[in-house]
């Protein structure tokens, strides 16, 4: 009985996690096409609530774009063609993942470049420190005696 309750709770949780804004009447009859459309709509930004995909968003425009996307897919568009259709209208901003192109090189390669620069800097610094590090000179006889006296005083 208890197991059953746990299972039910887990199933409920799973269904919550899988929830999206896609309404049943938007879905395509062909499961293969529908899953392609779902995958694409997760990559497309909702222009109204700009950090949500059109798959997640309840905005009116997101609904229109989901329907439009499914029409393009059902009409024989490839994934790239369907994305390009929206990019040509809304710009590359509509893609949640920016494409790798000269204009976005700074975005894609900037952080690794900064990391590499920091690594080179750290390496040079450590190397120089090791090269210039000198062994401390041994204590002289007088110093050693003074140290012994001081330690004895402490005790």
């Amino acid at each position: 009985m208890r197991h059953r309750a746990t299972l039910t709770a887990l199933l409920l949780l799973a269904s919550v996690a899988a929830a999206s804004a896609v309404e049943p009447r938007e879905r395509l009859a062909d499961p293969a096409l529908e899953s392609r459309a779902r995958a694409l709509s997760k990559e497309l930004r909702c222009l109204v609530c700009q950090n949500e995909s059109i798959d997640d968003s309840n905005a009116d425009l997101a609904h229109d774009l989901r329907v439009l996307l499914r029409e393009r897919i059902a009409g024989g568009d490839s994934d790239a063609q369907a994305l390009q259709y929206l990019v040509s209208r809304y710009g590359e901003f509509v893609l949640l993942q920016p494409p790798v192109a000269p204009a976005t090189y700074a975005l894609w390669f900037g952080p690794p470049a900064v990391l590499a620069l920091g690594a080179v800097g750290a390496l040079l610094y450590l190397r120089r420190r090791r090269a210039t590090a000198v062994e401390p000179e041994p204590l002289t006889e007088a110093e050693r005696r003074r140290l012994a006296r001081l330690l004895k005083d402490e005790a």
Binding site: L47, D60, S88, R89
Partner: protein, 190 residues
Amino acid sequence: MCFGALAVGRRNHMRRLLYLLPVALFVVLIAYFAAALRPGRDPSTLPSALIDKPAPDFDLAGLAGMPGLSRAALDGHPAIVNFFASWCVPCRAEHPLLMRLAEQEHVPLFGIAYKDKPEDAAGFLVRLGDPYHRVGLDQSGRVGIDFGVYGVPETYLIDSAGHIRYRHVGPLDRDSIERELLPRLKEIGG
């Protein structure tokens, strides 16, 4: 000896420059942040992907008993196209300015009623006045998508060759009309 001193001098100089590098980076960052935070800038406003590209083709029905609006109506002269809707509150705010714009400028102002019921759009224009040369009904919102509309009101300037030259997202106000819309209208010969 002399060479060595020179080399050491240059190295010290280089090192001092290296110490200035973080300061220089900081100044660059501050300039970047200042530009991004300047008053009046709305970070959610997007540039249109269609600037300097041909306006999309469309053929829309008109309000009851009125001629519709098609792409052909924009050809051969500069034009202003305004997406509006009766359900859109900011459209109400910009409406008096559109009325004045239609009176003062010779450029035809076209309206596209975005996702609006024909009777609601007609009622809106009867109550508040009709600044538009012609109105097209985009009930499905598809023409809006072709233009890259993501929120009404939006206003587009189209030159005589049919290219989109400017887009304003959100309600026009006196400032944006005088500083942006009208100068650009003049540029395209309006």
